[in-house]
């Protein structure tokens, strides 16, 4: 893990992945599965947290090797056992100096794994003559020659096959009932064909004796063609009629429902209300405090009860170095997962996070005087900080300066669902840019929402009042480029950018209409706007109040952008603007959800409606708020 290549098996020369290997481990925070694809290779990895080792196996993606998991486990065990001493005693210098000649062992293990996967010979498909189907049809025909031909035959087939199916089910130890599959044949070989037929014939005769008995054959599963046997599920032998528990007398008929006594008091509730008036929501903050106290009290006695047992456990943990097992961590992780969800982190992301923390800590040796809870909390905190740390530079001003030098405008596009605060935050960002001396052109590409253009015009007027041209050397710092309503947004954006280039504006801020992520035509339109105009920065505006929806929104937005782009590397969302941050106290989980999904940084945080309410994200503060109980 520390970067030195302990031993590299370049078997077949396939493993030359290099830097993407690191990508395995950062998406380690990204979920529980242990495989990773890079170009033409699939990489499967296994972590040893005790000695800080990583085992990676790479193979061609098109091959589906079934023995890889077993191989990696075997390699792990052998390597660890063989070099256990070195790891434990010699430390880093020993690792650097030591030679780890594992090649022969690896080849041996690989050969074993390959052979073990070949042992299970593929089952040979039975020919038609061998199959029971052919036998059955013929025999059945012979049986029923004297009697009514078609229906009886069908019925008997029904019963016979059903019986056979049931036979199969009750056959000792051979559970699979789908005898359509030839692969199941191997398991049914004990019941030879003759035995089955014998049994069927007996059953058939028995049934034939009991005249009046009607067996309910599974109708929907009944053959549509001769010879096809219905699949008999354990629980699905009954049909809709059997499952219909409703009273046939009352269903669907209006007269059947007895007229209830309509009590207007119950229906209306409050007699004293004035008709037509809408009352406020009554909100008492005392209730909350009471609830908290109530919750705390029951937890205290349980803590006391667990106290004694916990004391012994703690003492055991204090003395000597214990290695963490899954069972130890599970209760703590459950609690942490619930805690995260309570803090507005999307449920599946909280689950994946806890899973990856568990993977990272499994087998790790705890130091003295550390409890499981504290270790897990520490690891979770590190994982959260790591997620919030941007993977690319977040410096907008620097990039604007660069674009300035190349004499072209820096184009920023804002996208998001309805009502998240795109236009408001666009105004805040343009204020910030103007304060830093850059001239801004606002492109009103929201041609749908009523008042969108007017809103931006008002902002422009206000900003110009705050920063008049006289104080900036005679040039207007902010200008609005609009073409009214109903026009094509992508076209307006393109015109705005060329206008900015001609007039020498430093930044172009493109405001788009809000759209739901499920609305395919609108998503296509947005993707087209971004693909055609190639903005420098695509910012997704999301509100901090969103919960699990954030995941869906971002995934669908990214997918739409990727699908409709013509380029090899499509322009995806480059950054996130988190708005309405002042409305949440410490339920800051939305920040985690969003950065987890896109792995792009949160560029700005909006904390209010005035121009100065623009902040940058402080990862440590957010994580502290998240972990706070």
């Amino acid at each position: 893990m520390s970067g030195e290549g302990r031993w590299q098996g370049l078997y077949g020369g396939l493993l030359a992945a290099g830097d993407p290997l690191a990508m395995i481990f950062l998406p380690q925070e990204r979920g529980g599965n242990n495989s990773f694809t890079h170009e033409a290779l699939t990489l499967k990895y296994k972590l040893d947290n005790q000695f800080e080792l990583v085992f990676v196996v790479g193979f061609q993606k098109i091959l589906t090797l079934t023995y890889v998991d077993k191989l990696i486990d075997d390699v792990h065990k052998e390597f660890r056992d063989k070099y256990r001493n070195e790891f434990q005693q010699k430390g880093t210098l020993g690792l650097l100096n030591g030679t780890f000649d594992f090649k022969d062992d690896f080849m041996r293990l690989l050969r074993d794994a390959e052979e073990s996967s070949k042992v299970r010979a593929p089952t040979v498909m039975k020919t038609f003559e061998q199959s029971l189907k052919s036998q059955k049809t013929v025999k059945c025909m012979i049986e029923t020659r004297g009697e009514k031909p078609k229906e009886k035959v069908k019925n008997k087939k029904n019963k016979g096959s059903k019986k056979e199916g049931i036979e199969a089910v009750t056959a000792p130890g051979k559970a699979s009932a789908g005898d359509k599959q030839p692969s199941a044949a191997g398991e049914k070989e004990e019941l030879t064909k003759d035995e089955i037929l014998q049994k069927n014939r007996e059953e058939f005769f028995k049934r034939h004796m009991k005249a009046g008995e009607k067996s309910r054959s599974p109708k929907p599963e009944a053959q549509k063609e001769k010879g096809k046997k219905p699949r008999v599920w354990d629980l699905g032998n009954s049909n809709a009629k059997v499952l219909d528990y409703s009273n046939s007398a009352t269903n669907g008929s209006a007269e059947a429902c007895p007229v209830e006594e309509f009590d207007p008091d119950i229906a209306l509730g409050d007699r004293n209300r004035e008709p037509g008036r809408l009352y406020d929501l009554e909100y008492e903050s005392d209730d909350e405090a009471e609830e908290e106290k109530v919750i705390q009290n029951p937890s205290k006695p349980s803590a006391k009860k667990g106290g004694l047992g916990g004391m012994f456990g703690m003492l055991k943990g204090l003395v000597g170095s214990k290695s963490l097992t899954r069972e130890d961590m599970d209760p703590v992780l459950e609690k942490m997962q619930d805690h995260l969800i309570a803090k507005n982190v999307a449920a599946e992301i909280a689950a994946q996070l806890c899973e990856s923390v568990a993977k990272k800590l499994e087998g790790k040796v705890m130091g003295t005087f550390t409890t499981v809870t504290s270790t897990v909390k520490q690891a979770l905190q590190e994982a959260l900080v790591q997620i919030l740390q941007p993977q690319r530079r977040v410096d907008v001003l620097r990039d604007v300066m660069d674009a300035q030098r190349h004499r072209r405008p820096y184009v920023v596009t804002f996208c998001g669902v309805n009502g998240v605060g795109k236009s408001t935050n666009l105004a805040k960002i343009s204020f910030w840019l103007i304060e830093n001396g850059f001239s801004v052109l606002i492109a009103a590409c929201d041609t749908f929402r009523a008042g969108a253009v007017e809103q931006l015009r008002t902002h422009t007027r206000r900003l110009n009042a705050l920063h008049p041209p006289e104080s900036h050397g005679g040039r207007t710092m902010v200008q609005l480029y609009e073409k009214g309503y109903g026009k094509d947004a992508a076209g307006i954006a393109m015109e705005a950018i060329s206008y900015a280039r001609n007039q020498g504006f430093d930044v172009v801020l493109v405001d788009t209409a809000g759209r739901m992520q499920d609305n395919a035509p609108l998503m296509t339109a947005l993707a087209k706007l971004i693909a055609v105009n190639a903005p420098d920065l695509v910012l997704f505006v999301g509100e901090a109040l969103v919960g699990n929806e954030a995941v869906d929104q971002l995934v669908k937005f990214n997918k739409a952008l990727a699908d409709h782009s013509m380029a090899q590397t499509p322009r995806l969302i480059d950054g996130i603007v988190l708005t309405k941050f002042d409305t949440i106290d410490d339920k800051v989980g939305a920040a985690i959800s969003m950065t987890y999904i896109t792995s792009k940084p949160i560029v700005f945080v909006g904390t209010g409606q005035t121009y100065c309410d623009l902040r940058s994200l402080n990862a440590k503060a957010v994580v502290a708020a998240l972990m706070k109980a």
Binding site: T92, D395, L617
Partner: protein
């Protein structure tokens, strides 16, 4: 306070002789052990504070290979580090002086985390720069260097800084002088843009009040509170994997620091 203590002291004084010499000797022994322990911890703390030399830099700059070469002299194939490694390095000419070399990962998501952990113990920092890819990466290099320099702990301790321009064995490598000029220009721009960034969420403006260098003048490495040196080196060495690495400048600097 004294009033409540008095009766307790009285009680103690009365009880101790009564308890007998055995108990007394046990108590004295415990006291001696406690005092020794405290003294030992204190001395340890003094000695081990700030003995570390951190190897920082972007991904793929050559930190881990440099680390391996300094410690063992041999070439190793390396992968991207995802965690730190540390070992004690004995300065070649002076047997008594030794420093702890700590190799930190350079990946963007990990670097700040590990820097946080080790910055307090840093006596010196070696910032490794990939001289070949420098032209492409100058903004990222400058950004990381900026983050290191404005860190409050680093500013307070002012550890010696060495910027090692690695990969000099490649013909297209830039010289140390050129790298110095470019970094100075880039850092000059960065301190303007960084201080103009929107303030942080909880109001504590991290990094923005820390002004690098002097305000009116262009940024220069000599304006920093710590000693900054530039050195060229090559971890791989001109003879490739069999030969030695060329980093006498680095070794000399390490000897000076230790």
């Amino acid at each position: 306070m004294a009033g409540t203590l008095e009766p307790h002291l009285e009680a103690l004084r009365r009880e101790l002789p009564a308890a007998g010499p055995a108990v007394l000797s046990v108590l004295l022994a415990l006291l001696a052990v406690a005092i020794t322990f405290l003294i030992w911890r204190f001395v340890q703390g003094r000695r081990s504070s700030r003995k570390a030399v951190l190897l920082l830099g972007l991904c793929d700059a050559g930190k881990t290979l440099l680390f391996a070469r300094l410690l063992t002299g041999r070439y190793r194939d390396t992968q991207t580090s995802i965690t730190d490694s540390s070992a004690v390095y004995r300065v070649s000419n002076d047997k008594s002086a030794n420093v702890t070399l700590i190799d930190l990962p350079g990946h963007e998501s990990l670097r700040l985390q590990f820097l946080e952990r080790f910055k307090a113990a840093a006596r010196a920092i070696v910032f490794v720069v990939d001289s070949v890819a420098f032209q492409r990466e100058v903004k990222d290099v400058a950004e990381f260097l900026y983050q290191v320099l404005v860190d409050s702990t680093v500013l307070k301790n002012a550890p010696a800084l060495l910027i090692a321009c690695n990969k000099q064995d490649v013909t297209m490598a830039k010289s140390a002088k050129l790298i110095q000029q470019q970094l100075e220009k880039e850092l000059n721009t960065l301190r303007v843009t960084r201080s103009a960034a929107p303030t942080s969420l909880d109001g504590s403006a991290t990094g923005s009040p820390a002004q690098l260098g002097k305000k009116g003048k262009d940024f220069d490495f000599s304006q920093l509170p710590m000693k900054v040196e530039f050195v060229e080196c090559s971890a791989r060495g001109s003879k490739g994997e069999e030969g030695d690495a060329d980093f006498e400048g680095l070794e000399k600097w390490l000897a000076k620091i230790a």
